[in-house]
Amino acid sequence: MSAERLEVHPTRLELLALKRRKTLAEGIADILQKDLEVLIISLVKYRERASILRTQLYDVLAMSYRYFIEAEMVIGSLKVKELALTTAPIDFNVEIKTATGVLGIQFPSLDLIKHKESELKPRLSLIDAPIQLVEAAARINVVMGAVVELASLTAAIRELLEVISLKRRQINRIRFKIVPQLDSTIEYINYILEEIEQQDAIRVRVLQRKRKERSEKSDETSSL
């Protein structure tokens, strides 16, 4: 598919300007490609961290769920429900901030803010709650930090993916639209300029021939 030409005057001046623009566009594409590589490396690192964290999180949640089931086995599901209904909820908040990451990109950063008072008192009845339920609740409480960190990482990964996608679109636009367009226009101007040059050359040759013929004719008339 041939690229669309730019609407320019086919002059030598425009040709030079277009060649400068092409060099600049290729330079920008190279810089963007390097940025893209840095972003991809960063994305892989974030993803690895998120993967490790997610595995740890699932392990803790699985263990917590196992304890929860054991609690139901030990005291019955109704008692567990009864204790859960009157348990003081974990008092926490999530603060959203922005952190500067790779290439100066602003990532959303989530911080878990726990109220210390909630750790001073037992949440579940010390006498009625089986230890399995207490441990399950404690693990969930601990895992909240990891959940928020994972959410923060996921937000950063999403931001990175958006930036990577943007960069890739920019590179593609330069490489597959702007540069071919410039190439096509340069080629066109070159062609036009060559055409003009050829016409000029023919015209010069015709003029030279005519001048030669005229001079030969004038020489003949003078000799006569």
């Binding site: 086995m73 030990v74 109704l78 209904l85 009845s125 089986p130």
Partner: protein
């Protein structure tokens, strides 16, 4: 206690003890499906309650309810066949279930549950059974109203005293702790009225339950809480492990040293206490759930010990040990039923069963 006091209750205990499910058979139930468990239970002492509660439906909740109903029936038979101090002691033991049901009412009322829904959470046992609870809850929809309706009952007066600012704003812990303390104090007071030998046996069997409860509370605090200031408020009355030992154990830096402190303090005390705490010290690096499980088994161990030690037929040990064993049987059955309902591996269920140490 005079043998005459035991003349009617002991044959009943002997009869009921024979109806206990053999441990081998109980373990054999583990891993079987609900239909098989139902078929097994229908041929045991639970038949009447299973048939009347479950009918054609075999559900874990209904089976659990039938087990409680059977325990209630057995307990009522013992109460009926007992007199004097034995009856008083059994009544005080039954108050444990009253406390459980009262706490359930408080919690559910605080959670804003409808009174008809609350009734399914009530254990059909003790003074505050479903009929009594329905009568209370149909008229009272706040905690203060529930307490108000109890004023002429056993716990009414002191609960009214304990219902304070903190409770009014949703923290039920002081109320619940006070209720449990009153129940255990009542049991220990009733034990004091028994004669010398019975008093010793009853103190051992009921005392280990209360003492291990205190140890469990301390361990839970040490393992999970950052602030140890308010442990003391949550401790129950003491039996063989007194307040000074509990206080010094609280001050210990970690769980291991706490258990070592307890172990040192029971060196001159009962053999079962020594064995339990020696085992706890040995396994002090295990997860807290394992330590608590060892403590859970302590009343059963004490029951078996007292049964072996006191061969004389007429003693309170037979009655209290039977109650412990029956309750443990129901807990084990519940564990097996719920484990099966949730498709839990039979090995995992087996680890949660309360079985005698040398089984």
């Amino acid at each position: 206690m005079k043998p005459a006091r035991y003349s009617t209750i002991m044959p009943r205990i002997a009869l009921e003890s024979l109806k206990l499910i053999d441990i081998d058979e109980l373990i054999h139930l583990n891993g079987k499906n609900l239909e098989e468990i139902f078929s097994f239970l229908v041929n045991t002492t639970y038949r009447e309650e299973i048939v009347s509660t479950c009918g054609d439906m075999v559900e874990p909740g209904l089976l659990e309810d039938a087990l409680f109903l059977n325990y209630a029936k057995t307990f009522n038979k013992l109460l009926k066949n007992s007199s004097g101090y034995i009856n008083n002691l059994l009544m005080s033991v039954l108050h444990k279930f009253d406390a459980v049901n009262l706490k359930t009412m408080f919690r559910m009322v605080q959670a804003g549950m409808d009174f008809e829904d609350i009734l399914q959470y009530i254990i059909p046992l003790g003074t505050y059974d479903r009929i009594k609870s329905q009568a209370i809850l149909s008229k009272a929809n706040t905690i203060s109203a529930v307490i108000g309706s109890l004023q002429d009952q056993d716990f009414g007066f002191f609960l009214k005293e304990k219902f304070n600012f903190q409770t009014r704003f949703g923290d039920l812990t002081p109320l619940e702790t006070a209720l449990d303390k009153a129940v255990f104090k009542g049991i220990l007071d009733e034990i004091k009225n028994l004669n010398r030998k019975d008093k010793k046996i009853a103190t051992n069997i009921m005392g280990i339950e209360i003492d291990t409860l205190n140890v469990k509370i301390i361990l839970k605090f040490k393992a999970l809480m950052t602030n140890l200031d308010n442990i003391k408020e949550n401790l129950m009355p003491v039996a063989l492990i007194d307040e000074s030992i509990l206080e010094s154990a609280i001050k210990e830096a970690d769980i291991k040293s706490t258990l070592q402190r307890f172990s040192r303090s029971v060196e001159t005390k009962h053999q079962v206490y020594r064995d339990i705490f020696a085992k706890l010290v040995k396994e002090s690096d295990s997860p807290i759930s394992r330590l608590v499980f060892i403590l859970e088994k302590a009343p059963l161990e004490m029951s078996f010990f007292e049964l072996k030690k006191n061969l004389r037929y007429y003693n309170i040990g037979y009655i209290l040990s039977f109650l412990n064993m029956k309750w443990v049987e129901i807990k084990n059955l519940r564990c097996i039923i719920n484990g099966m309902a949730r498709h839990i591996d039979s090995d995992q269920t087996l680890n949660l069963l309360l079985l005698p140490e040398n089984y």
